[in-house]
């Protein structure tokens, strides 16, 4: 996965993400594609959460998966979650859960509740930094005012290893998160961060908008064989546009 949260020169915020999934879960030799990735694409749907006829949240789902890993509360905030690989992964959380230890929570459910019930960026940031989770992950949050952008690096339990914030006044006008801790270099065999960073700098802050960040996320290897969709979010206007993504060969396998 690759998530971007970006501030333009007027202080407006954009959030976008590629959802990559299906690694090593079956290779389709005939088509040179990952089997599960191709199965997931037809199930992708935007969901407009309504209560009393009013929109209280929006999300991008694989039909049948009721949790939220990409979503927004129009006018308030946007969110995406990328996988974090850790030895202490979700499986331990599941075992604890099955054994009756129920204080940890499931990522997709927590994020959906956080978005639908969100009142503002800061309280949601605090909540997602400390809520007890069964699995690690990177939670990328965007808001509706200047500087409201963050990468929350979560372990299981109530621990956040790091919170990296947007800081446009000192030149940090965008944040990029793939699947590796932002304070370390990504592995040489899966460095999507450098190409994404290069293209963000090539685009420059003056050209920030849905078009520019879609182009960045469509550039190989940020777009790769695992990429199922690109979601574009603009909180102030409540825009959530999702587009299926493909990567015809030759293409990076992840």
């Amino acid at each position: 996965c690759t998530s971007l949260v970006v501030e333009d020169k007027t202080g407006d915020l954009f959030h976008a993400r590629n959802l990559d999934f299906g690694l090593f879960l079956g290779w389709d030799a005939k088509n040179s594609t990952w089997a599960l990735t191709e199965r997931l694409r037809p199930l992708i749907i935007n969901v407009d959460y309504q209560q009393g006829g009013k929109t209280v949240g929006k999300g991008v789902h694989f039909a049948g998966y009721v949790g939220m890993i990409t979503g927004m509360k129009p006018g308030v905030l946007s969110l995406s979650m990328n996988e974090r690989f850790q030895a202490e992964g979700g499986f331990i959380g599941i075992i604890e859960w099955v054994l009756g230890q129920r204080d940890g929570q499931w990522m997709g459910f927590v994020l959906r509740d956080a978005v639908v019930k969100a009142t503002d960026f800061n309280s949601t940031l605090q909540y997602l930094t400390s809520v007890d989770l069964l699995a690690p992950g990177y939670i990328i949050l965007g808001g509706n005012s200047t500087g409201q952008g963050a990468i929350i690096t979560r372990s299981i339990g109530t621990k956040a290893d790091d919170v990296k914030m947007l800081n446009p006044s000192n030149g940090t006008w965008y944040l990029v998160e793939t699947n590796y801790d932002n304070w370390e270099s990504p592995p040489f065999f899966d460095n999507r961060r450098a190409p994404a960073t290069k293209c963000m700098n090539t685009m420059t802050q003056a050209n920030v908008g849905l078009k520019g960040i879609f182009n960045v996320l469509s550039t190989k290897p940020v777009r790769n064989l695992l990429t199922t969709y690109t979601a574009l979010m603009h909180v102030r206007s409540g825009t959530l546009d999702t587009y299926l993504q493909y990567c015809p060969q030759p293409c990076f396998p992840w």
Binding site: Y49, Q50, E83, G90, G108, V116, A135, K198
Partner: protein, 118 residues
């Protein structure tokens, strides 16, 4: 960039993408009972969901006896539904009812992130 043709120069022509690739929207009415609110979405996609979950089961089958494993998973995971916070138990049971997919497998699909981080 670095490894053509597996990488490329920064795109400037990808937007707007083809209209055919734009994803539709489903309205989830939270005033509806949890058991019913997803039916309008998942029922028409039942076949695609079954194919997806079958793929995962086939993968499980590579390592262990698929039938036994799936039966065990169903037995282990189905009761978990009632341990989830509201409104998720009702939503997951509603999806299982609407698609005919066993509840244990619907739950496996919904906790797959936690499983996959291994």
């Amino acid at each position: 960039q670095d490894l053509p043709p597996f990488t490329e120069d920064c795109r400037s022509d990808a937007y707007p993408p083809p209209v055919k690739d734009k994803v539709g929207t489903y309205v989830l009415n939270l005033d509806q009972a949890p058991e019913d609110r997803w039916t309008g979405l998942v029922k028409p996609l039942t076949e695609k969901l079954i194919v997806l979950i079958q793929d995962i089961k086939d993968l499980v089958g590579i390592f262990v006896n698929e039938t036994k494993a799936v039966d065990y998973l169903d037995e282990l995971l189905a009761p978990m539904a009632d341990t989830f916070p509201e409104p998720y138990p009702g939503e997951l049971k509603g999806i299982a009812n609407a698609t005919g997919i066993p509840l244990g497998q619907v739950i496996l699909y919904n906790v797959f992130y936690e499983v996959f981080t291994v």
